[in-house]
């Protein structure tokens, strides 16, 4: 029997080994991609084999499973191109660090988070362009996150809990620390944005589950206020965007803020929180892969307004994009809806106004996501566009996202969490909620 303390090292080691194993294939993009996907799948298998032996964190084991799934999706959805080679290996590297952060205990967990955030800040710096001066804010946000993560590993309470919360606010974006999220999703190349949108929020939630029960009331109220501002701000900004990646970044910010509000109200992060964060991240990741399909065909700087009529020319793409959009805007029977409803029914409402804003943010997603999808898929076919439906890898990638989101919306929550973990301890929330309590 393997020692439980070794399992985080094993879980992290497999994708890291994969990144190293990919090095010999650097000259052959196709082989490199195949190898990276294979290692991501092996990583998923290792999680399935060993995750049950580690101490279950308060948010459950779902994040551990979702990380390799997201990596597989992000890798599969990329076109075979030499420009993406580094991003594939970095995806495996980030997967390893993410798995380590989620499965190990404090303070090693914080140290791996420091490394993760510093690496992303470094990547943003590397891809910084003078045309995008605002990306300094993103680099700064991740720098701050890395610093806070290091301090939370070294310092004692109460400083450690404050710095830990700040790290979470950078990872799981909360206004005003959301610049890193926006910059990473819009500036990083290849498969990185579609993986990071799942990885960092889940890592943030892991930290939040440990930090939020200990924060003082005043901090919880402040977080609650920021969350409501973030939910409305994200929704409003998403409505105004014409660039798809920015729209998705703001949209996901709005949904993550909803999670912050519920977490601040209930002072805990349960597996239902993980379900919401994971599925929002996964749906956004899927939409990013779908957008990548368009960029592959019509160029990196394609204007979404110039594309229309894909439903007739690319029917498979149209069906999968529509389903992904439904999932991303929080409609049943997909996981985002299940996570949102789970929190709505199991968390207390500190205020009716807060509930109203939360519901408005949920509603706003119908506008901006549906508008984007309708613009792309419907309307007249453009004679100047060549319509090529999904290739096998792209199809597989999008299909996996849709199926996982569907499964997470329908399967019993107890599959990935025990009853006690689902709702916290009875003392935390008084009476245990159920469909008919």
């Amino acid at each position: 029997m393997m020692d439980a303390a070794l399992i985080p090292w094993l879980l992290a080691g497999i994708p890291l080994l994969g990144a190293v194993a990919c090095l010999p294939f650097r000259s052959n993009a196709e082989q490199l991609k195949r190898s990276a996907v294979t290692w991501a799948v092996i990583s998923l298998a290792s999680v399935a084999a060993f995750a049950g032996r580690i101490d279950t964190p308060p948010e459950g084991l779902l994040p551990l499973y979702l990380l390799p799934v997201a990596a597989t999706i992000a890798l599969l959805g990329q076109p075979v191109h030499e420009h993406h080679r580094r991003s594939w290996m970095l995806t495996l590297l980030l997967l390893g660090l993410g798995l380590f952060a989620l499965s190990s205990r404090s303070p090693i967990s914080q140290l791996s988070l420091t490394l993760l955030l510093a690496l992303i800040a470094g990547l943003l710096y590397r891809h910084h362009s003078a045309l995008w001066p605002r990306s300094w804010w993103g680099i700064g946000a991740y720098g701050l996150g890395a610093l806070c993560a290091a301090m939370s590993a070294a310092a004692d309470a109460p400083l450690s809990s404050v710095t830990s919360l700040l790290t979470c606010a950078v990872l799981l974006p909360l206004v005003p620390f959301h610049d890193g999220h926006l910059t990473a999703l819009t500036r990083l190349p290849g498969s990185l944005p579609s993986f990071i949108v799942v990885l960092l929020p889940l890592a943030g939630l892991h930290g939040l589950a440990a930090a939020i029960p200990a924060v003082p009331d005043i901090v919880a109220w402040t977080v609650s206020g920021f969350a409501l501002v973030g939910a409305s701000y994200g929704g409003l900004k998403a409505l105004a965007q014409s660039r798809v990646r920015l729209l998705l970044a703001y949209g996901s910010l709005s949904f993550f803020s909803i999670l912050w509000w519920f977490a601040a109200a209930s002072r805990m992060a349960t597996p239902r929180s993980a379900l919401l964060v994971g599925t929002v991240g996964l749906a956004t990741s899927g939409l990013m892969v779908a957008w990548q399909v368009i960029r592959t065909r019509y160029g990196d700087d394609v204007d979404p307004q110039a594309i229309s009529g894909l439903a007739a020319g690319m029917p498979r793409y149209a069906v999968l994009l529509s389903l992904l959009a439904l999932a991303a805007m929080g409609l049943p029977p997909f996981g985002v809806f299940a996570g949102f409803m789970g929190l709505l029914l199991s968390s207390p409402f500190p205020s009716l106004a807060g509930l109203f804003i939360t519901l408005l943010a949920w509603l706003a997603a119908s506008w901006y996501i549906m508008q984007m999808v309708q613009r792309l898929l419907f309307g007249v076919r453009r004679p100047e566009l060549r319509y090529t439906d999904l290739l096998r890898a792209e199809f597989a990638s999008l299909l996996i996202v849709v199926l996982v989101l569907l499964a997470l919306g329908l399967v019993p929550t107890t599959l990935f969490a025990s009853e006690g973990d689902l709702f916290g301890t009875a003392a935390d929330i008084g009476e245990t909620p159920r469909w008919n309590r």
Partner: protein, 566 residues
């Protein structure tokens, strides 16, 4: 038990048969899928018989006593209301599906379209037989999206705008519904229908919206549910999606107007015991329903397109239905929606023929003989008198003496009787004005038909009420809760009487060449009102303006903030 599950499964199977199969066999598969749709109807009818004789059927795929529930707790609860709705939906589906196979023949999207029709029927059946609010909401939401897809034509700009409007407006109402579910769960701790009703009536809760303003929990919850119902049933002012979706294929309208739009009425009926706890919500429903009925009917009169005319007619009818709910006559609303559904499905399926004939015949519709008789005969006056005075008295006699409905204690029934009176008076006034009642044959046929319809309707409604709500005390309690303030009730009765009497007096005076002094503004009112009603009260423009204003504000905000975040 298996029978109940078989009904939705057969519809799902029909969708699969249409969708899946080798190329070239599409038409055969479309024809084949009609059999499971027909079998679903037979299953629904058998379920109705079973439920009537044996009582409600309950199937749950989740454990009530355990927290380890499904994300969506799937289960079926089929009582008489559900079984009636299932029979109606599957019955209409059989007709629409059979019609559609011919209507969409050789259309290249026929396969997708027919599969969507079957899928919509499946969702509708699951919705009306849901065991709890969560499952009902799940299918309610899917229905909103299916409506968007069904009202869609990829390449037509107007349809795209209409479909988007349909989706977004329905989402607004769905959000209120969701808020209602969350609030109900937090107040009463359950989403199971029967348990919810018991807890809501046993534990009255007061909510403080802000200092000094309190509202009962039942009122808050039912108001939110009511907004949800308003969306699906196209109630003013969120009725805009219905005229906007009129570009869809004609059979879709038949399904929409005969089945989907009834979802609001069904929801209120399903939650009748909860609505019966809040007179405020019922009064709001009465107000909204009346307003929708009046505006819908008025707009219908001013439309010059057959589909729009029928669309606004549906809005008006849905207004009546909600008004009936607002008066506490929940079973009457169900009866109304069944009657309206069957009628409107027939009319919609036939409207294509009318358009076709109109295109073939340059003088269609025929111009009536413009020569008018100089005056009205005694026979005409006699018919009018019998219709407006004798028949109402007879109805009063029957309702009070034969059906034993306590009129003095039931405001709702009196309002309905006056409603019948004013409606039949309006009909007979129109006929009289058009000189259509000029022979004994016509007069007798009309009176007999009217009597027959009214009596059959009264007896049918009474029997249906007993069938749906076997406990008369429950029915009486709903009427009691829905009682309007006395002054409002008196005002309505007096206004209805005055309107009828004044109309007859005006007609009599005009017919006898007497001078009727009418202020100029009243004469001009009809013309002035025609334009706004023809333009649907400019509601679409207002909606577009609101959307543009919001988007302008959002873009302004985005520009101001751009420097900070990007």
């Amino acid at each position: 038990m298996t029978l109940v599950l078989l009904v939705p499964l057969l519809l799902l199977a029909a969708a699969c048969i249409v969708l899946v199969g080798r190329r070239g066999s599409e038409y055969a598969r479309m024809k084949l899928a009609a059999y499971p749709v027909g079998a679903a109807f037979l299953g629904a009818a058998a379920t109705l018989y079973h439920v009537t004789t044996e009582g409600p059927v309950s199937i749950r795929f989740y454990d009530l006593s355990s927290v380890a529930s499904f994300a969506i707790p799937f289960g079926f609860y089929v009582d008489r209301l559900s079984a009636v709705m299932m029979t109606l939906i599957t019955g209409v589906s059989v007709i629409i599906y059979t019609y559609s196979t011919g209507y969409m023949y050789q259309d290249r999207h026929a396969r997708r379209y027919l599969a969507m029709i079957c899928l919509t029927d499946f969702v509708l059946i699951c919705m009306v037989s849901s065991a709890n609010l969560m499952m009902l909401f799940l299918f309610w939401q899917i229905l909103s999206y299916l409506l968007y897809v069904l009202a869609h034509n990829h390449a037509h700009e107007g349809t795209l705008v209409g479909a988007f409007k349909t989706f977004t407006i329905l989402r607004v109402a769905d959000t209120a519904f969701l808020a209602g579910i969350a609030l109900a769960y937090h107040l009463y701790g359950t989403l199971e229908f029967q348990e919810l009703f018991i807890r809501a009536s046993n534990t009255p809760v007061m909510l403080s919206l802000w200092p000094g303003m309190e509202m009962s929990g039942a009122t808050a919850v039912t108001l939110l549910f009511f907004v949800g119902a308003m969306g699906k049933s196209a109630q003013f002012p969120i009725h805009l999606w219905l005229p906007g979706s009129l570009f869809a294929p004609t059979p879709v309208h038949a399904l929409l107007h005969a089945g989907i739009i009834n979802a609001g009425g069904f929801l209120i009926n399903r939650l009748a015991p909860l609505f019966g706890l809040s007179s405020t919500t019922l009064h709001v429903a009465f107000l909204i329903g009346t307003l929708t009925a009046i505006l819908g009917a008025s707009m219908m009169l001013a439309q010059n397109d057959i589909k729009k005319t029928l669309g606004f007619s549906t809005i008006g009818q849905m207004g009546y239905m909600i008004m009936e709910c607002g008066l506490g006559a929940f079973s009457l609303a169900v009866f109304h929606l069944i009657a309206h559904g069957l009628f409107k499905a027939t009319v919609f399926l036939n409207c294509g023929n009318v358009i076709h004939n109109a295109r073939l015949e340059p003088h269609f519709p025929h111009v009536d003989d413009q020569t008018e008789e100089p005056g009205l005969s005694r026979l005409t006056w006699f018919t009018g008198f019998v219709t407006t005075l004798f028949i109402p008295l007879l109805i009063l006699l029957i309702t009070h003496g034969v059906l034993r409905i306590p009129l003095l204690e039931s405001q709702g029934t009196v309002i309905f009787l006056f409603f019948i009176w004013i409606t039949s008076s309006q009909a007979i006034l129109t006929l009289t004005r058009l000189r259509q009642v000029a022979s004994w044959k016509v007069s007798t046929a009309m009176l007999m038909t009217l009597l027959f319809i009214v009596f059959v309707y009264l007896f049918a409604v009474e029997s249906f009420t007993e069938f749906l709500y076997p406990n008369p005390e429950e029915v009486a309690s709903y009427f009691k809760v829905a009682d309007l303030p006395d002054w409002l009730f008196d005002l309505m009765i007096v206004t209805a009487t005055i309107l009828t009497v004044v109309s007859w007096s005006y007609l009599y005076m005009s017919a006898h060449g007497m001078t009727v002094r009418m202020p100029a503004w009243i004469d001009g009112l009809r013309i002035r009102l025609y334009l706004p009603f023809m333009n649907r009260l400019y509601a679409d423009e207002l909606y577009a303006l609101t959307g543009q204003t919001i988007m302008r504000l959002v873009h302004q905000l985005d520009k101001r903030e751009r420097g900070w975040s990007r």
